[in-house]
């Protein structure tokens, strides 16, 4: 008898109608009808012949088609048994830092070398995003980046406004000088385009819309979906948007994310330890996708970024992200800004200018 062995790092996530087969190693995902997912699940317990018998002769071709598809994508293989040694993937999640990611909304008046920032980056923060809403001189960017040279930071993303002096050659020089910079987003650009610098290793995305405040953040789009071990496992236990994340907004206030309403003090007057010891600071980080309305029925829930700052019902932190246009019950994407049911929340957050 032949069996189909599905690799353990290919994880099925079932939604209301459709499922997602997430290949966490090759970082891809496959959108499948729930019927297909059911067959794949059945095959994890039964031989292929048993499966064909179970679903009837009429479905033989369809089912062998599924198996051929899975094999062609190298998501599994046939063998004379379900190999007993192939164990399920352990989905636990942990990191060696209390804060893994930081967002800074840049403000010239804030001193990014003072104690608060030193203590913050001593926690072995891995990723940093620096958002510039206003034009900034390249020298100032270099000065800021030089301050992170002694840290264990691995990844810096710069969000910069379009400026003719910041051409690709200048950016290339910049990232070669500060190799921690691994991604750039240039907003307010005359055109939308994607480039790569530093021997094709650093993407530069030119974005025609203006990003002049954090209000633009929190959109849920398929190109933001990521199928990998880190996000998938974290998503099982924590909020992928806010868990172990910390932001410093443009006025120097410490928040979970720049868009969240409450702050936990100011960088000049609050000690980092105080923030870390504050239970309220960690509250949102514990909200899992499986607990959020609609998201819990969505097949994309464990590849999604989520957003707890702008939600459909501002009074209910367990409601769906406001800026998500996907309906997992109909499997359609609509423009969220045009949804009549979202208009009151849009007004509540004062996002009218953003949605224009």
């Amino acid at each position: 008898m032949e069996y189909f062995n599905l690799y353990a790092n290919c994880q099925l996530v079932k939604g209301a109608n459709m499922s997602l087969l997430c290949d966490l190693q090759m970082r891809r995902f496959y959108h499948l009808p729930n019927d297909t997912a059911e067959v794949i699940t059945f095959l994890q317990q039964h031989a292929i012949e048993e499966c064909l018998a179970h679903y009837g002769e009429d479905n033989r071709e369809t089912i062998t088609g599924y198996i051929d598809f899975l094999i062609s994508r190298e998501l599994g293989f046939k063998d004379h048994q379900l190999l007993p040694g192939l164990t399920p993937l352990d989905l636990s999640w942990d990191r060696y830092s209390r804060i893994t990611n930081v967002i800074i909304e840049y403000n010239e008046a804030v001193n990014y070398n003072d104690t608060f920032f030193q203590q913050l980056f001593d926690l072995h923060v891995q990723g940093l995003e620096i958002r510039f809403y206003h034009t900034i001189a390249p020298d100032k960017i270099r000065g800021l980046l030089a301050g992170f040279n002694g840290t264990t930071l691995r990844f810096i993303k710069l969000v910069l406004p379009y400026n003719e002096t910041l051409d690709l050659r200048t950016l290339d020089k910049l990232v070669k000088q500060y190799p921690r910079v691994k991604s750039l987003l240039i907003h307010s650009s005359p055109i939308d385009k994607q480039e790569k610098i530093f021997d094709e290793s650093v993407p530069v995305v030119f974005f025609s819309r203006e990003i002049n405040s954090c209000m633009a953040c929190g959109e849920i789009r398929t190109n933001y979906f990521t199928s990998n071990m880190e996000l998938f496992t974290e998503s099982q236990h924590y909020n992928t948007c806010l868990n172990r994340k910390l932001s410093i907004d443009t006025n120097g206030y410490i928040r979970n994310c720049p868009s969240m309403r409450e702050h936990f003090g100011h960088v000049t007057t609050t000690a980092l330890q105080e923030v870390l010891n504050n239970d309220a600071f960690h509250r949102y980080g514990k909200i899992r996708k499986d607990e959020i309305a609609v998201c819990r029925d969505c097949e994309f829930r464990h590849v999604c970024t989520d957003c707890r700052a702008y939600v459909e019902d501002p009074q209910d932190i367990y409601s769906k992200p406001l800026k998500c246009g996907y309906n997992p019950y109909t499997n359609t994407w609509d423009e969220w800004t045009e949804n009549p049911l979202k208009q009151s929340a849009i007004a509540w957050y004062g996002l009218e200018d953003i949605v224009k």
Binding site: N9, Q25, E74, T87, L89, Y96
Partner: protein, 323 residues
């Protein structure tokens, strides 16, 4: 004086040590990391970590590279090489002094066993412990190869010691990897040659890399068979179609035997290579006591770096109870 965890490593290109150290910091476990490079700063022997200070030693690496270049006044290729070898021996002589000054039982792995690990001995020892190993011989003539090819259709040749990296004058690098000998390429084999290790070629279903940590096997299956580039050796990476790497659990009796073998060698940690043939039989290949385990830890979501940090902490607490 309170006893501490000592980590012997190198200052560069040792992500595994860095990763474990970051876990130790996060878990607030105190430790002392001494890189081989640090020995160039010592003033006298008293600067070496002492036995009384040390509760447990995790020995990862000796050194990445000497902090300064040393050369002869008169440049000469052959003597330059001799000097290089000499300096490595000098450094090793100093470094290995620690193997004797710090009590043997404090080392996670017996350092003398680790530094002198012999592939042929490990295979013989593995067989004594009931592990299945591929037929292995060391031969010097084509005539014997021809006879062996009647017994197994294909042989592989690999070093008794370790693979090396060869550089040509233009700076091109050549990795030494496992090669196959069969009737098809027999004509390339000279009549007489340097004593060489040949092994029966196992047609594999998949490979297994096990990280053994203090009695527990953390295993990963590596599927590369349908991937021509990696048929013989999974280190021939194929970036477009990488090997599939998934968590795996070895049968209990096999784990038991591997544990006994590790104990016999005095190792509490190490990487073990195994192969599974088309019939599903396991073949033990070799042990790398200082093998990288990041390549097992990440794809299988095992958090081995955290487990190593916790084991070191447990060991030091245990030491404290004894004293």
């Amino acid at each position: 004086m309170s006893q501490q965890i000592l980590i012997l490593s190198q200052s560069h290109l040792e992500g595994t040590t860095d990763h474990v150290c970051q876990w130790m910091n996060h878990l607030q476990i105190p430790y002392l990391r001494v890189n081989g490079e640090d020995l160039f700063q010592m003033q006298h022997l008293g600067d070496l970590p002492s036995n009384s200070q040390t509760g447990v030693v995790w020995y990862r690496r000796k050194i990445s590279s000497f902090p300064a270049k040393y050369s002869l006044k008169q440049d000469d290729f052959a003597t330059q090489y001799t000097l290089k070898r000499f300096l490595i021996d000098e450094f090793n002589g100093l470094h290995a002094f620690l193997f004797y000054t710090i009590d043997r039982q404090k080392w996670m792995n017996d350092p003398i066993s680790e530094d002198n690990l012999n592939k042929l001995h490990v295979l013989a020892l593995a067989r004594q412990h009931g592990l299945n190993t591929p037929f292995t011989e060391v031969v010097t003539t084509k005539a014997v190869i021809i006879r062996l090819l009647e017994r197994c259709p294909e042989l592989i040749v690999k070093p008794v010691s370790e693979c090396i990296l060869v550089e040509d004058a233009a700076g091109g690098q050549y990795k030494m990897l496992t090669k196959t000998i069969s009737k098809a390429n027999l004509q390339q084999v000279p009549e007489k040659f340097f004593p060489s290790l040949v092994q029966e070629k196992i047609i594999k279903k998949f490979e297994i890399r096990t990280f053994y940590l203090d009695g527990t096997c953390h295993s990963m299956a590596i599927f590369s068979q349908d991937n021509r580039n990696t048929k013989e050796d999974f280190r021939n990476y194929d970036n477009k179609r990488p090997n599939r790497t998934v968590p795996y659990k070895l049968p209990d009796d096999l784990e038991l035997k591997l544990g006994q073998l590790m104990k016999a060698l005095g190792f509490r940690t190490g990487s073990i290579d195994l192969m599974v043939d088309l019939q599903g039989n396991y073949h033990f290949l070799e042990i790398n006591p200082e093998g990288q385990f990041g390549m097992v830890s990440y794809p299988c979501n095992y958090y081995l770096e955290k487990k190593v940090a916790q084991l070191l902490n447990k060991s030091i607490l245990h030491e404290k109870e004894i004293y």
